[in-house]
Symmetry: C2
Subunit: 149 residues, 2 copies
Amino acid sequence: MQFYEDVSVGDTQHSDGYRISKAEIVEFGEKYDPQPFHTDENAAQDTVFGGLVASGWQTAAICMRLHVQNSEDTATQAGLGIDDLRWHRPLRPGDELRLRTEILDKRASESDPSRGIVTTGHEGLNQDDDTVISYEATALVQRRADGSE
Amino acid sequence: MQFYEDVSVGDTQHSDGYRISKAEIVEFGEKYDPQPFHTDENAAQDTVFGGLVASGWQTAAICMRLHVQNSEDTATQAGLGIDDLRWHRPLRPGDELRLRTEILDKRASESDPSRGIVTTGHEGLNQDDDTVISYEATALVQRRADGSE
């Protein structure tokens, strides 16, 4: 298990790719983001995107999946929040998203000695190495019981 | 249709409620955020949450749904980004989430006279009026062709 003490500022990770299908875009759009450019291939032609694109929240959720798969051994307790989330480019049917993360900051919790607070930069890239989404996520990570580094 | 010119800073809206089920939490968790506190009722007992909770990304996605339902007439072109997203409290099976939004800022686009940029504060509340999630969303909104207010 990777505890707070095992995480270092500057650590980077690269995920596998996740290819998104048209059906997946429409399913998520109909449930959570029912706007024409996420749900209706024909109507999407007449929007600024010129075709179907994934909901930005689906793009973020796929990054979460890739991050969890990459950090299964980390003793993450809970997410606290997200800063500076930007959707740089749309994610289209057939695109492959992969995630690059970097530890930006870590600090001990002042209120609870059993945990620390870790901020991680996330960047989602498509198959052409274009940035699709970026954000910084802050989470609680468990400390070792004995506090050893 | 509500264009950029029809949006005023200080405008507020309140959505209907959305009740989340255990099955929905687990389905989203398995697909996008496979951590024990989102996918496994028994394992979740031993986490800081003490039981199943919705992925924070699912909570955000439900807010998006409530926002789209509330603003179907608004000529939104695309989302640009999210700032200061905070998960204040978990969303648990059976909880009902509703959304309060307030227009915080609007400005014309410098690069494209056909659109404006609108920032909206979002607050997701549960059935006890506790804040579950909050964030600021910035989006492109179409201007009237003749620019009339």
